[in-house]
């Protein structure tokens, strides 16, 4: 269950949040929704792909952190998150409600005695809370920018389904379905005017980051395979 309330420095003065990455706090996610501003940070670690929202069918952009459902291969139990931790994991258990910051009081991260304080004795936000605010300053406009980027890709027929089949040393196979990436054939044949338009809007760079990130798929698979080998 969730119990989301608007955060304020009086009622929540003594509240603490366990901020470290851990499966028990919900970091065990295979696919995390990301925004275009994160692409440069993501591309050195994760495949960035598109999937569909199961409720609306709308395209989402996300980073692949694992292969199987509930698997985040970058999570080291007790040692936090390897590499860049996507904003949508960093922000938990916070939300935005209009211009205000809100918090899910029922989230397992929320505690009284352990974790990061949100406010100091004078009610001033701590550096931790400031980092959450900073995350939302990127996320809020980022979601809108990412949506527009996806709309442009769809309009130009630049997305295509991708079938990823992976084999592992334990003899098992994974068939990753419902994922989409940039259609490079269509990209190569785009008329000049469309290419310039993409470049001016900063989309061409994003497109090449997406393409480059595909090289992380075998790396990710290797990471999983290493776990089989080391037990």
């Amino acid at each position: 269950m969730t119990n989301i309330v608007v955060l304020n420095s009086v009622t929540h003065r003594d509240m603490r949040v366990q901020a470290e990455a851990a499966a028990k706090f919900g970091d065990n996610q295979r696919f995390v929704q990301v925004v275009v501003g994160e692409f440069p940070l993501l591309v050195t670690h994760y495949p960035i792909l598109f999937s569909k929202d199961t409720e609306t069918g709308a395209f989402l952009c996300g980073a692949m952190l694992g292969i199987d459902e509930g698997e985040n291969l970058f999570l080291k139990e007790g040692k936090g998150h390897e590499a860049y931790r996507p904003l949508n994991l960093q922000r938990v258990p916070f939300f935005v409600a209009g211009d205000d910051l809100a918090i899910d009081l029922d989230h397992p991260r929320v505690a009284v005695h352990a974790g990061q304080s949100l406010f100091n004795d004078q009610g001033v936000p701590t550096p931790y809370l400031d980092s959450i605010k900073a995350a939302f300053q990127q996320l809020k406009p980022g979601v809108e920018m990412t949506k527009r980027f996806i709309e442009t890709l769809l309009k130009l027929n630049l997305l295509e389904p991708v079938d990823i089949v992976l084999g592992f040393d334990d003899g098992t196979k994974r068939n990753l379905a419902d994922l989409y990436t940039v259609n490079q054939d269509v990209l190569r044949k785009l008329p000049d005017a469309a290419v310039i338009e993409l470049f001016r809007r900063g989309y061409l760079q994003l497109i090449y980051l997406l393409i480059a990130s595909l090289k992380q798929i075998p790396v990710l698979a290797q990471k999983k395979n290493d776990r089989f080998l080391t037990g």
Binding site: K52, T54, E55, T56, G57, F59, L154, E160, P161, D178
Partner: protein, 514 residues
């Protein structure tokens, strides 16, 4: 020099006219854009659309897709809904529990193994369609055939549509005119201008003068203005085979706007015919198709009211006379008929719109280059269409000849004199071997494949003799397929959303193209 065919003139709007226009124009876009070919549709501003057939076949998905139509837009503007097949209630014994399904998916592994003899030997307590295909359970559970994440025109379970023909035609009009370059002439056709050969040179209209063309498509509905009236092609009745000659159509609202909506057509047998029940998002279309020799109009109205419920007693059902049959030939001179102008059969298996699509596709694909070769194409077209109409008549009749119902209408249907010879022979043959893949239904575009015959035959309790030794070779494959079907059915039941919920999402969010 041979006269090239560069200008196609379609007379009549409605579903037939606009689908034909769209299918031909989509196929010949290159030539239309370069100015070497044109499609013109003349539509009377005064004649209303009859709007038969609100049920379709899965072929409509590819027809619409090829025309470049967005499925989302089609759903939103044609009051369209999913159709996963038909449920035939009370056709065999007339009991409350008597029903069978004719789903749109083929039996599991249809091209590998014929499951019929295996099911006949051991049905494991399941009826035929349920044993071999997931769709009966999906329909009974009120589920949609896909998810909001499934791309446009792609299916999880095969599907067609129910639609409002009165909304579908204007939707097609807009697309054909704006996107496919079809010329739209709003005028009443008065007469045809014929050459000595009988060829139609043009049609005189009340408002726009003469409209000339090289090939004329008669989509003028029951009046069959060009093929019937101008060219004098006669009508071949089949009321000696199919007895229903009258329909009472009644549209009724749902109890609440969010009431569950069936994702299949429900056809319920009655004393002297059957009642259709088609779920659209905003209303249910119902109607009693009956034989006036076996029921008075008053009795028929009472029957329909009993079906829809007394709360609808103040609604007046619209009476439509049905003349079952088709033109003696379909393409004569430079004129070809499509839709009601070609013929009409009771809507028992939604054959009207699929026949329009198949005819239009054949015309589009085989568009004769010039007048000299047109007669060759016409002969082919006539051959194919005689075959199709004959097959459909046989298939419709099949629904009537396996009944145990006692009423005179149903007993009369068993009279051997009313059963076409080809069907009689097949029924004889099927006592010893079931229809399957390697059967005579082998045309490239068969309206009803062998699987359809299987669903009706074994849904209605027909028995084919089975030699157990003959089953031995395929026994293990067959039982594996039957197990797979049960597993797939379970999986789909847990995955698929409710029919109405998916439609609501399509209205709200739309389906993705990929």
């Amino acid at each position: 020099m041979a006269q090239p065919i560069q200008s196609v003139v379609i007379v009549g709007g409605g579903t037939a006219g606009w689908l034909t226009a769209g299918i031909i124009a989509a196929r010949h876009q290159g030539r239309i854009k370069s100015g070497g070919f044109s499609v013109t549709l003349i539509e009377s501003p005064n004649i209303p659309i009859i709007g038969v057939g609100e049920g379709t076949w899965p072929t409509l998905r590819s027809s619409l897709e090829k025309m470049g139509i967005s499925e989302t837009e089609f759903f939103r503007h044609s009051d369209a809904a999913f159709k996963q097949g038909a449920k035939f209630a009370r056709w065999t014994t007339g009991a409350d529990t008597d029903y069978y399904y004719h789903p749109l998916m083929l039996p599991q592994g249809f091209t590998q193994v014929n499951l019929v003899p295996h099911w006949l030997r051991n049905d494991q307590g399941r009826n035929f369609s349920d044993a071999v295909c997931p769709q009966e359970q999906l329909c009974e559970a009120g589920l949609a055939p896909k998810m909001i994440t499934t791309p446009e025109y792609k299916a999880v379970a095969n599907y067609a549509y129910h639609l409002d023909a009165g909304k579908f035609a204007p939707f097609l009009t807009k697309h054909c005119v704006e996107k496919l370059g079809v010329r739209h002439v709003l005028a009443d056709v008065l007469a045809a201008n014929q050459a000595e050969s009988g060829d139609i040179k043009g049609v005189f209209t009340k408002q726009m003068g003469e409209v000339t063309g090289d090939l004329f498509v008669d989509c003028s509905g029951f009046s069959s203005l060009l093929l019937g009236k101008t060219l004098g092609v006669g009508f071949k009745e089949c009321s000696d085979v199919l007895f229903c000659d009258t329909a009472l159509a009644l549209q009724i609202p749902y109890d609440t706007p969010d009431a569950p909506m069936a994702s299949h057509t429900i056809s319920t047998a009655q004393t002297a015919g059957w009642i259709w029940d088609i779920g659209l998002p905003t209303r249910r279309g119902t109607g009693y198709v009956y034989s006036s020799r076996h029921s008075s109009e008053e009795e028929a109205r009472a029957t329909l009211l009993r079906y829809v419920g007394p709360e609808h007693k103040d609604r007046e059902a619209r009476k439509i006379s049905i003349r079952s049959g088709h033109r003696q030939t379909f393409w004569k001179n430079n004129c070809v008929a499509v839709g009601l102008a070609a013929g009409f059969l009771e809507p028992l298996e939604s054959s009207a719109i699929v026949l329009i699509e198949l005819s239009a596709k054949l015309i589009a694909e085989q568009m004769p280059a010039n007048r000299e070769v047109m007669d060759i194409v016409a002969a082919r077209f006539n051959d194919v269409n005689h075959y199709r109409w004959g097959r459909i008549i046989d298939f419709l009749k099949l629904h009537y000849v396996l009944t145990q119902r006692p009423e005179p209408f149903w007993r009369d249907n068993l009279d051997p004199a009313s059963i076409p010879d080809r069907l009689k022979n097949l029924l004889h043959l099927w006592k010893y071997q079931s229809p399957w893949f390697f059967d005579e239904f082998d045309r490239l575009e068969e309206v009803f494949p062998a699987a359809s015959y299987q669903y009706v035959l074994y849904g209605m309790g027909f028995r084919t003799e089975v030699d157990p030794a003959d089953n031995a070779d395929t026994e293990s494959t067959a039982s594996q397929l039957l197990r797979e079907n049960a597993a797939v059915t379970q999986k789909l039941r847990s995955q698929l959303p409710k029919n109405r919920d998916l439609l609501r999402k399509i209205y709200e969010h739309g389906l993705q193209r990929i």
